[in-house]
Homo-oligomer: 500 residues x 2
């Protein structure tokens, strides 16, 4: 070790503690790593996926670094009880990284109070992307979207590329597309460059974003939490600054949920207004193209390229429905209430939503029926290629009987009319998702069910909805959605810009 | 600021110093940044391109971070004169980063003694890559190279992709290739996956690796120094751990020089043994396919796939020539001498190389003549699309007259015979490049000229050469080359493995 900084001697025990850390890392000895990490709520550990604060948040993540060896060490001793140890590492997979560690001597021995770990980025973050170019497809040299870059969800056709649909078996068998999906072509003609093809949950049927095969894209605003899905790749790409526009789909919330979880603006248009040509279907009665951006302004600019002119309808009174507010967790509800209070005049109105639970069930049944209709032929003897959660969904879909599907369809039609009557020419304000982004693992299904009760209103109505970013008191991203009657897409995006 | 760690108060002046740093960063006030950085040789600053040690190395790099704002700050005070300040940053281009700073109070005020800066990696490091997939082309499921990944220099045909040749005008006009270059296909059939298409110096005519259009790929082992070229992208990709095999070309050193500069193994085969079909030509009399790896073993494994069987020739006595050793800088020469001493029996032999300078000139003249023959048709009215250094080279090439070229060709033939006679069935040991990787900018041309005197021996001979990684006493990468008679490629790679 070279000793730098103030010319203090390296205090006794420090080198041994550093070596113990390295040995535990090599051995995967997470117990020792946790023990050498200072207890308490102010210990810090940061890496490319974000900064974690407090021993309890840090401990479960220790020992997950790639295999490496230390090739250079520098020590700056600040006083006999504290030292910064900076090490250059060489990874077994190639490339060099750096770790900076602040050590403190405690009665129990030397403990790490702060660590900052950098490892070389891979050629491609394959959790986020399947293929990327500089650019993959150049945009037209003139147009309203010149300078913008697009992360395309892996369910859109891009000429010269396959559609992978988040499933390796599908991708392996897929043909190379000869033409772009209509919206891809429209964006390119408007000047946007296609950066690449980003991940999706399998066959776009999920809201969590934890693709079983390719891993979970990061959520930069909420480290270690799920990114939201099924447009998980485009959402994380936009959050990471890899692209400015995330092109996704939204059948039951797949654009709005990741937007809410990651602090983005997310838009779902009126069903049927933006062409689905060249986009893989999930449930055609509800499928829409959607997009995510870091600003409402750009979401509107994309709308001006992709959307037809609105029907001439006036009116944009805001209405908030207590029953829907109550469907969200207290922290999200509080964020939405605060936002509502800031808007001045918002009508508070109780809606007769006693049948909402059955509407949501009918939505799910008809969606499942359609999903199996479009995908069952290929999936029937390939269900084992799916991750567990999506497999469960498709297996259920395979079991839906025609009479039940037809009955569900009738309920959906009834719900649609009832909700349209309740909404009128007003704009509904509601929480986008029921919670902030959960951690991966247990409980995700319950979160999904709770969020679906909110996100399925737009597809039930066939209506446009835009999610705007809010934050809870803990600083975690969540979303408030604005929902208008079908055909009022541009007015809704204009409203979103004016309210941000 | 939240205060963590030992519950010491934030010392006076620290917050102000931190704010001054941030303001100077925003304002691009490099003078203030340099002043707030502690003087002396033990100050540290690390980012994704590597760790710099000492104020003098750090100062020129300050103020080059992307625009960002601080969204979270944590302070750990170790004693009244020292504190670690950890900040989470949000970039204007999207994504979150982290900086960890150790501050010390000096008589002149608070000074930064160590900084560790992380910014979110881009979707693609466009200095290194043009397009990347997961993978771009899957390898065969069985074969000796299963598990290996290839960075293909942007002069090889890959089906479905363009050949960009390091020049945007060429790339824009290039057709999409219908078939792979023969070697690309052979590697894929052997099980290697193609990760992507990596950068090259323009039309592969450079040794520095500082592409004018796409930037200089990083050199992880020698931060801020050039990566070497013209196979700069594949070399950096292998160094960074983005791929295991860098597929390049070597006309006058374009595989061996980046290998030496970055601590890799680099191989150039016998001229004419590895098919050039589907590879863009620079100077066909000298052009070869080459490859770079992190281990000599893998370089040999690739050779077993790409090379024909050797002619049956025995003999692998090592010979070192003082005149060639003297062509390298003292630090590189010392590293090679040490390596030679470690090998035991190496014959030291003076060679009559009085004409070497004229041979090198003739090599350059014939190379230029051929380069203009293959590329002049397209470049004649497009010289302004080239970066300054490559433009100078092609402009000179355009001026070479046929009689001078013919005379140069005759000198090359004479040199080839003389050198083959001198070498016999022995293996020549020589420095790969004349120096370690220089910093970009002034003096690169002189370095290039000095290195060419060494690297052009293999093309003059038409012989195989392998560069093995060494390090100078300062820890910087350099290379020792082994050169054998034409047709002894496999024997040479076996020897390289046995000597490593």
């Amino acid at each position: 070790m070279s000793t730098g900084g103030p010319a203090l001697p390296v205090p006794p025990g420090l080198v041994e503690a550093f070596r113990a850390w390295e040995q535990a890392l090599t051995a995967g000895d997470t117990e020792t790593l946790a023990q050498l990490t200072a207890p308490g709520s102010s210990t810090l550990r940061g890496d490319a996926d974000g900064l974690l604060v407090g021993h309890d948040a840090i401990a479960p993540t220790l020992g997950t670094e790639p295999a490496r060896r230390v090739v250079q060490t520098h020590v700056q001793v600040t006083d006999p009880d504290h030292a910064l140890v900076v090490a250059v590492t060489e990874l077994a997979r190639g490339g060099r990284g750096q770790q900076s560690q602040l050590w403190a001597r405690t009665p129990e021995g030397w403990r790490l109070t702060a660590a900052h770990v950098s490892t070389p980025a891979p050629a491609l973050d394959t959790r986020v992307w399947r293929v990327v170019g500089d650019p993959l497809v150049p945009g037209a040299t003139a147009g309203p979207l010149v300078g913008e870059t697009v992360a395309v969800k892996d369910v859109f056709a891009v000429a010269g590329q396959k559609v992978g649909a988040g499933n390796p078996a599908w991708e392996a068998a897929a043909p190379v597309e000869r033409a772009d999906a209509t919206v891809v072509d429209t964006l390119v003609e408007a000047g946007a460059a296609i950066t690449g093809i980003a991940r999706t949950d399998e066959f776009a049927w999920s809201l969590g974003g934890t693709n079983h095969h390719y891993g979970t894209p990061p959520n930069p605003r909420a480290p270690r939490r799920v990114p939201g899905g099924s447009s998980n790749g485009p959402a994380s790409a936009v959050s990471l600054g890899h692209a400015t526009i995330g092109l996704g789909t939204d059948t039951a919330g797949s654009t709005r949920v990741p937007a809410a979880y990651q602090g983005l603006t997310g838009f779902r248009p009126t069903h049927g207004t933006v062409p689905m040509h060249g986009v893989m279907a999930l449930a055609p009665s509800f499928d829409t193209v959607g997009w995510m951006t870091r600003s409402p302004t750009l979401a509107r600019d994309v709308g001006e390229v992709l959307l037809p002119p609105d029907a001439a309808v006036d009116g944009s009174d805001l209405v908030v429905v207590p029953e829907l507010l109550a469907a969200a967790e207290p922290d999200v509800r509080a964020a939405v209430e605060t936002w509502v209070a800031d808007q001045g005049l918002v009508v508070r109105e109780g809606w007769p939503l006693g049948e909402l639970a059955s509407w949501v069930r009918a939505f799910g049944t008809w969606q499942a029926w359609e999903a199996w209709s479009v995908r069952g032929g290929w999936l029937a003897d390939r269900l084992d290629t799916l991750g567990a959660d999506v497999r469960t969904r498709f297996r259920h879909a395979a079991s839906v009987e025609k009479p039940d599907a037809d009955a569900a369809y009738d309920v959906v039609q009834t719900a649609r009319q009832r909700l349209r009557d309740l909404l009128g020419d007003r704009v509904l304000v509601l929480p986008t998702a029921s919670s902030v982004a959960p951690f991966p693992g247990a409980g995700v299904q319950a979160v999904r069910d709770a969020t679906l009760r909110l996100t399925c209103l737009a597809p039930l109505l066939g209506a446009p909805a835009v999610s705007l970013p809010l934050a809870t008191r803990d600083g975690l991203p969540c979303g408030v959605s604005l929902l208008a009657a079908p055909g009022r897409d541009r007015a809704l995006l204009d409203l979103a810009v004016s309210l941000s």
